[in-house]
Amino acid sequence: MNAEVLFGLAGAVLAGLGLYGLVADPAPLRKLLAFNLLGGGVFLVFGVVARRGAAAGLGGDPVPQALVITGLVVAFAATALAVALLRLLFERTGQTLLDTAAQERTSPDQADG
């Protein structure tokens, strides 16, 4: 076992952990945390890909490294928008659950146009 394989497998496990939380946890904030955990695992696998590509005097392939930087920024933007939605939902309703049945019961019977 070398460091690349070790980190690659760790990335896979972390991605799995994150995916579990994203699917199984009913609270949106926890889903959001899980999404970021999942992202971290996927980025780590990309980091391993970069490390494997070390050449030309570089410690890693700079292309995947740059892509991870862009990916981190995009994930942050997504988190920011989701947190804003979540905060407003909480202010309006006092809860943050995504229970479809409850939503449909309270949905007003009128046009949305």
């Binding site: 460091a3 699917v23 980091g47 030309a56 410690g59 942050f76 909480f90």
Partner: protein
């Protein structure tokens, strides 16, 4: 080497523990704190796999901004009705799905080819015309410049989406509540002392990014953090979102990038191509303005939708 591998094992165990805690913690606050720890461990791992640029970004964005934002949200939503745990069927399905994906990813990692493909040599070979010394900056601002440009538009859309959640009557107003300035508070002292230092560090990181790890995004994050500190200390207020200068600051970076890109049609024979000899100054100019825009966007994303009446 064995010493190094031992350290790597230790880091992996820490990352897995922090990840496990993020998912399994009882309350969201604990989970968010665990997530920050996770981000910091990942930043160390990025150093271990020779990706210092990513390590800086992970620490600043992953652990710092994202973590801070999620901790903030967890304290605000503390009184939210606690969700009941997922039902048995959902959980079993989720376990099966996540185990499947983790196993598939692991299998794919083990099956990666030898020798591995790499663009490292190509990236280095294309670097001299740009005048840059850091190939990661070369990828972000030259070879794959359009990704970076579009990523800034993604940030602006996230900001617009955040603002869109304001009530109609508060549109154009200032985000957040006014922080009271308290001369005796240690926060005020920090807010007075740290920003000048932080601004210097942020600009330094931006500047060295051309040749060493660092760059527009990492520098912008530090500037935003200093700005936020001054806001929290009550020294300055978040500007109203209708301010023309603020709007200009937000779009200046991507706007200038786009203009330089379009100018490439005329002076360099292609969109987002740099004219020979002018590549480095142009890239640095774009980076400086991008840093300022990034700082403004990040501050505004942290501040949230307008919550106070717009100025008359």
């Amino acid at each position: 080497m064995t010493m190094g591998l031992l350290l790597d094992f230790f880091l992996v165990i820490l990352a897995l523990a922090a990840g496990w805690w993020t998912i399994g913690a009882k309350d969201s606050f604990g989970a968010a704190v665990a997530f920050v720890a996770y981000g910091l461990v990942l930043a160390l791992i990025w150093v271990r796999i020779a990706a210092p640029d990513v390590a800086l970004t992970e620490a600043a964005i992953g652990a710092g901004l994202t973590g801070g934002m999620l901790i903030g949200a967890s304290t605000r939503l503390e009184s939210a009705k606690q969700a009941t745990r997922a039902g048995g069927v959902t959980r079993r399905l989720a376990i099966a799905l996540s185990a499947l994906v983790a196993a598939a990813l692991a299998l794919a990692v083990l099956g990666l080819p030898h020798p591995p493909p790499s663009l490292a040599a190509a990236a280095m070979a294309a670097l001299p015309p740009t005048g840059l010394g850091n190939p990661v900056t070369g990828v972000l601002l030259a070879y794959r410049a359009v990704d970076t440009l579009l990523e800034k538009v993604v940030l602006i859309l996230a900001l617009l989406g955040t603002w869109s959640l304001a009530p109609d009557r508060l549109w154009g107003g200032r985000p957040g509540r006014k922080e009271r300035r308290n001369a005796a508070s240690p926060l005020t002292l920090l807010g007075q002392v740290l920003p000048p230092i932080g601004i210097v560090i942020g600009l330094h990181i931006l500047w060295v990014g051309a040749n060493e790890p660092g760059g527009a995004f990492q520098g912008g994050t530090i500037l935003a953090a200093m700005w936020m500190l001054a806001v929290m200390a009550g020294l300055v207020d978040v500007p109203a979102i209708s301010r023309t200068w603020l709007r200009l600051l937000v779009v200046a970076g991507p706007g200038l990038f786009l203009i330089v890109g379009l100018a490439g049609f005329v002076v360099a024979g292609g969109f987002l191509a740099y004219p020979p000899g002018f590549a480095k100054p142009l890239i640095l100019l774009v980076e400086v303005v991008l840093t300022l825009s990034v700082a403004a966007i990040l501050l505004l994303l942290l501040a949230g939708p307008p919550e106070r009446e717009p100025p008359r």
